[in-house]
């Protein structure tokens, strides 16, 4: 009998967390109690930035994190956050399939194994007014939290501003920031209607979370337990992607219900962002080397 502690970054109500709680439950059932997983949600055991290292170093056997958090280690980790490269669930899934072998290789170098990975709802632009073209965004204070978002701001002529996630409501209320790009989920979770008015459904990219295990801890399990974990993981992945789409519909509706104006991006805005996206994709390819090129070839090929 083995029991695992599993830290995850997001709160209990989040759909990723709900999916993982069900995964943990199913592992318990499938293994007949051979392996029990205790989920510690909301960074209550380990903080988000330290989850990967904690799994790698054997502090905990498994954990969840945002894949693109690791993009400073290798650009491969950040391909899901290249703006406008894969801007629908279908394309995002295709990109994941293309990325998966390289992702697994990188993780394996650190003694880690990928169990499953689930996309967040697509990223859209929140602002205090409706924008229909890039020129209207010029000079706006835009929340940048990594190189990708800073590059978007820069290429769109916006003023990049660093705002910590917990600081978003205050920053909007006091005018330190005027626009941000994030998912409808995050928008609803932080009750954006308290401080802004418009959501542009640009579907810029679909970042993903992943659940990883320590390879040594996994290998120490019995063969039938291993098989049960992998089976539960595969089911959790399918379920997670479905939950994510339901989440997108529900949370976009919730935005409307609470008085946020949800608009489809105008053709002009789309064209402007497509141009920016192509530029950033080229830059990404240049930085990601041969593996990156091969990845994109697989992605564009089939």
């Amino acid at each position: 009998q083995t029991s695992w502690d599993m830290p995850t970054p997001y709160p209990d109500g989040n759909f990723h967390t709900r999916n993982i709680l069900q995964f943990a439950e199913e592992v318990g059932e499938k293994t007949g109690g051979e392996l029990t997983i205790t989920v510690h949600a909301n960074q209550s055991l380990i903080k988000h930035p330290d989850i990967k290292t904690s799994v790698r170093d054997g502090v905990v056997p498994a954990g969840e994190l945002l894949v693109s958090r690791l993009e400073n280690e290798s650009p491969i980790f950040g391909v899901d956050s290249v703006p406008f490269l894969a801007s629908s669930y279908e394309l995002s899934r295709k990109l994941y399939d293309a990325q998966r072998p390289y992702l697994e290789k990188l993780l394996e170098e650190q003694g880690l194994q990928l169990l499953f990975s689930v996309a967040w709802p697509p990223q859209g632009i929140y602002a205090k007014k409706e924008v229909t073209s890039l020129s209207e965004m010029e000079g706006m204070k835009f929340r940048a939290y990594n190189l990708g978002t800073e590059r978007v701001a820069e290429l769109a002529g916006m003023v990049p501003t660093q705002i910590e996630a917990s600081d978003i409501p205050t920053a909007f209320a006091t005018g330190r920031v005027e626009a941000m790009i994030t998912s409808p989920s995050t928008g609803v979770d932080s009750k954006v209607w308290d401080f802004l008015t418009h959501y542009h459904d640009t579907q810029a990219w679909l970042p993903r979370n992943m659940v990883i295990v320590n390879k040594a801890a996994f290998d120490a399990l019995g063969d039938d337990v291993k098989a049960a974990v992998l089976e539960a993981a595969a089911e959790a992945e399918t379920r997670g992607w479905e939950m994510s789409q339901v989440e997108t519909a529900e949370k976009t509706q919730a935005l409307t219900d609470n008085g946020v104006t949800v608009v489809a991006p105008s053709e002009e805005l789309k064209a402007g962002f497509a141009e920016i996206g192509a530029k950033i994709a080229d830059e990404w390819k240049a930085s990601a080397g041969a593996d990156g090129e091969a990845l994109l070839q697989t992605y564009g090929g089939n």
Binding site: P49, T53, D57, L70, N72, E73, N146, V159, R176
Partner: protein, 176 residues
Amino acid sequence: MRRFLDALYRYAGWAAAISIFMIFALVGLQVSARLLDAGLRLAGQRPLGLIIPSIAEICGFLLATASFLALAYTLTTGGHIRVSLLLHRVGPRVRHVFEVVVGLCAIALSLYMTVAMARLTLRSWNFNDVSYGFIPVPLALPQGAMTLGLAILTIALVDVTLRAWLHRKYVQSSEA
């Protein structure tokens, strides 16, 4: 030896103070840049949008550096607090025993912390762990500073405990 040790604690303390000052300077620059932008907007000009990349992460690293490099200096100047109620109520012989035993416990704990932190640093170094934000800062840098601070603290604890044992000189809590 005495002078060397005191200088060691003091220089580490100063390095910590400089880290604190760097937090002040970085955040100050960021706020000034925003002030400048606000002025430019008022004057109808285009704001510059200067940002200090990864400011939150870097300030966090500077804070960790400061907190740990100052440990020994804080100990020897009586800055670390403890419950002294019992120590002041028992006789001098019992107090002496308490002080030495507590010193030895603290040395053991501090040594354990130093080794634990050193191993974390080493792993970060070997795996080339970097931070998440704009600038990929090698995590081994601030972790190394924390390890160094704990190592100096261990030395200071040995120093303090020896003085307690041999000369009955105990670390005083600072009175304001």
